[in-house]
């Protein structure tokens, strides 16, 4: 056992737990989000250590990056709204009564017990136990891709992935639904320096995103990570006001949202026939089809994530989903 590595592991684990605790207990919400972002990045690091670079990439880009951006945007909005409330202090409502300490402690003790039970269950489970290793190894040659994670995502368990894209679609429909007609906090705008930086960074982001997408077939990366990176570009465009969504763009945005789901589902259905079932790509076209799906899904993910960040559906006067196709 490599000793320095173990020390690293323990330290990393401790800091992850400490950050998780800190982010929940710190008073200031902005600090909370920042701590969370650090927590997410460290978790991603831990996953790299556990030889899961794809997951680490996804967590860093989507789980931490996009989630962090969403949280910050919401915080900005809340501060704006409550700022307007503070202007009329007379009508303010009493703040929520704090939860009695006893209840909190009881809850914490309860959760602690659950955690202990889970830990016991975990320790009793077989280490490095049974898995799909053999099955995947056997099936990889006929999957049409070289990278196992991509093979799982887009071939063996493609149905899961399709539904995951459907979840994204449901989310954007729900968000548009929820935020319709919402009075708008002025969008956060970056300073001039940052704007310049953002403009510089844009091409690089596109290159990285495309590379991730393309590399997904052989190396870590793929549609989700690529989509997230492209979405980051969208965020920058929105923040720098380089792109302001117009009501007229709604239609295009809708098409962009459903593009991935639609193509994915259509391909899945159309390959059925000649003794094959849905999602059973013919071997000779497997790579092409998977790349097609990945490309379309990437576009949808990018647009959807950006739209989730932006929130409201673009209607007259206000702004909405981004399109970058």
């Amino acid at each position: 056992m490599a000793d320095p590595l173990m020390i690293f592991d323990i330290l990393l684990a401790l800091s992850i737990v400490a950050l998780a605790t800190a982010s929940l207990s710190v008073r200031d919400q902005f600090t909370m989000i920042v701590l969370f972002i650090i927590f997410g990045l460290l978790s991603a690091l831990a996953w790299v250590r556990l030889s899961a670079p794809d997951v680490a990439l996804a967590e860093a880009a989507i789980g931490t990056g996009v989630t962090g951006a969403l949280l910050l945007k919401t915080l900005h909005h809340l501060r704006f709204v409550s700022g307007s409330r503070n202007r009329q202090p007379m009508t303010g409502v009493a703040p929520l009564p704090p939860v009695p300490l006893g209840v909190t402690l009881a809850n914490a003790a309860f959760c602690g017990l659950i955690t202990l039970g889970l830990a016991a269950g975990f320790l009793g489970a077989p280490a490095a136990g049974p898995g799909f290793d053999m099955l995947v190894a056997e099936a990889m040659p006929t999957s049409g891709v070289a990278h196992p994670v991509t093979g799982v995502l887009l071939n063996f368990r493609a149905y899961d992935t399709l539904m995951e894209v459907v979840v994204l679609l449901a989310a954007v429909v729900a968000v548009w639904q929820i935020e319709r007609g919402l009075s708008e906090a002025p969008a956060p705008v970056m300073g001039v320096v940052w704007q310049g930086f953002a403009r510089l960074a844009l091409p690089a982001i596109v290159v990285v995103g495309t590379y991730l997408l393309w590399g997904g077939a052989e190396a870590p990366g793929g549609a989700f990570q690529g989509g997230a990176v492209l979405a980051a570009m969208g965020l920058l465009l929105l923040l720098t006001r380089a792109y302001v969504p117009q009501p007229g763009h709604r239609g295009i945005a809708r098409w962009a949202f459903v593009l991935g789901t639609g193509v994915f589902a259509l391909v899945a259905l159309l390959v059925a026939g000649g003794g094959r079932v849905a999602f059973e790509y013919p071997l000779e076209h497997a790579k092409t089809l998977i790349l097609l799906i990945e490309g379309m899904v990437t576009i949808s993910i990018a647009v959807t994530l950006a739209a989730l960040f932006h929130g409201r559906e673009p209607v007259a006067l206000t702004t909405g989903g981004r399109h970058d196709t």
Binding site: P126, F132, Y159, V173, I178, G273, G274, F279
Partner: protein
């Protein structure tokens, strides 16, 4: 190249494409929605025929086959749930067509259809799924669409309730996901078949507990029901009908399936499940008695009824489980149909009278006769009076409990029945009292075509009791529950 499609794939992909089309073409959303429902129902009927003639149907997606790939499987119970979802869904859609027809509801209408069709996709996916991780993704599809529907009206109460619902949903799904993790750790596979016959180790018990608590949160089993009443009471009527009638059933169905395949640890756990159910029956009943608004009363009755389904599940202990699930399944079907009818009727009453404060129902000179009649019919099934499907379910519950000597479950059922009589008769009094009306009572006021859908549902809830024997025969197809210990 010819494409040959299985009705199983159609049951999932038709609503998915419907949702996409309804989202892309908002102006035609209603037409697309209804057409989708009709087509999905057709696919389910096709599937039902296949299951009737050939037994359970399995479709290995991608041709890989479980455990590497994901299998879809349709047996009697799945198809019964699909049938419930499509039939109730279709009628609720018809009702929604009317209740969303106003000009000021244009935006609601625009979002209702894609969300509802996505919800349908998710529910059909749950009923056909055999992979627990896939079920996790599916319940998230359901959760997001359901929350979207909950807050359709955009009122503050609805948004507040929707947010609580969202928290509960996410937490439930994450508990479930954690359970999936433990199952993977122990067994290294995620398909249902892989669960069969496994030794109940610590990790598996942890997994089972996590998944059960997660699902209980999603299906609002007492004491994890806290989010349900507000969410179901504040949604618009068609959304309430879908949420209460159909959505909570998806998580319940997963519980049934897990009990089929997982090694169920012990009598103690089953008793605990029954006790939670009993708590729900009593607490839901008490709250329904106290509720001031009609829709809130109906929502609390859902809490009580969900509890009853769990009591049915636990009615005869571990030994009786291979039979008990049938009573639970019957109650699920009965509640799905009757509760949808009741929420739609309650919505109609509220629309006609202008409010739904129970104690002031009798002050209104407007009496939406048909909606009130529908409400009463639905109540008959929910109370469990013959010959409704609810009665048959209750009969099965009590019969099994009695035969096994579990008198306490009989007592709980009877108490629940009496309470339901008490709280529903509060409403009937409001319908039938006339001496508090100042203005002359109009004759047959408030008839509308929109009453047709709930009335059909309510009549079905009553009439299907006569078809209980064939229904029971059907849900047993391809479902060898006896395999589980």
């Amino acid at each position: 190249m010819s494409v040959d499609l299985s009705p199983i794939t159609l049951a999932i992909f038709v609503p998915l494409f419907g949702a996409i089309m309804a989202f892309l073409l908002p102006r035609a959303a209603s037409v697309i929605g209804l057409a989708t429902l009709a087509l999905t129902t057709g696919a389910v009927i096709w599937l039902a025929r296949a299951v009737l003639t050939g037994g359970a149907v399995v479709l290995p997606l991608g041709g890989w086959g479980a455990p590497l790939g994901i299998d879809l499987r349709a047996d009697g119970l799945s198809v019964a749930m699909l049938g419930l979802t499509c039939a109730v869904g279709f009628l609720v859609s018809v009702a929604a067509l009317d209740s969303l027809k106003g000009a000021q509801q244009a935006r609601q209408r625009q979002y209702f259809w894609p969300l509802w069709l996505l919800l349908l996709t998710g529910m059909n996916g749950v009923y056909l799924g055999t992979d627990i991780f896939n079920l996790y993704v599916m319940i998230e599809v359901i959760a997001l669409a359901a929350v979207g529907l909950t807050v359709l009206s955009g009122s503050r109460a609805a948004v507040q309730a929707g947010l609580e619902y969202m928290y509960a949903s996410i937490l439930g799904a994450l508990l479930f996901l954690m359970g999936v993790g433990f199952i993977y750790l122990q067994l290294g596979r995620l398909d249902f078949a892989g669960l069969t016959g496994a030794e109940p180790t610590g990790a598996l018990i942890a997994a089972l507990a996590l998944m059960f608590v997660g699902l209980a949160l999603k299906t609002a089993l007492f004491p994890l029901h806290f989010w349900l009443p507000a969410a179901h009471a504040n949604a618009t009527a068609p959304a309430s009908a879908l949420l209460s009638g159909l959505v909570v059933k998806a998580a319940l169905y997963i519980v049934l399936r897990l009990a089929q395949y997982m090694p169920f640890p012990s009598e103690t756990l089953l008793t605990l499940v029954g006790l939670m159910g009993a708590g729900a029956v009593i607490w839901g009943g008490i709250q329904a008695l106290r509720a001031e608004r009609l829709k809130l009363l109906v929502a609390w009755s859902t809490v009580a009824q969900i509890g009853l389904i769990f009591v049915a599940f636990a009615r005869a202990g571990e030994v009786g489980l291979p039979e008990s699930w049938k009573a639970a399944a019957l109650l699920i079907l009965a509640h799905g149909i009757a509760k949808a009818a009741m929420f739609l009727a309650a919505g109609r009453i509220k629309d006609e009278i202008g409010h739904d404060v129970i104690r002031d129902l009798d002050r209104s000179p407007i009496r939406p006769t048909l909606a009130q009649f529908t409400f009463a019919l639905a109540a008959i099934s929910l109370i469990g009076l013959p010959p409704s499907l609810g009665f048959i379910g209750k009969w099965s519950l009590m019969e099994g409990a009695m035969a096994a000597g579990y008198w306490h479950w009989v007592a709980v059922t009877m108490a629940g029945t009496l309470m339901s009589v008490a709280y529903f008769s509060r409403v009937f009094a409001g319908f039938l009292r006339f001496d508090r009306v100042r203005a002359p009572v109009g004759e047959h006021q408030g008839w509308a075509l929109a009453d047709a859908a709930p009335l059909t549902l309510a009549l079905a809830a009553i009439g299907l009791g006569l078809l209980a024997a064939p229904i029971l025969g059907f849900i047993e197809i391809g479902y060898p529950f006896g395999v589980a210990p």
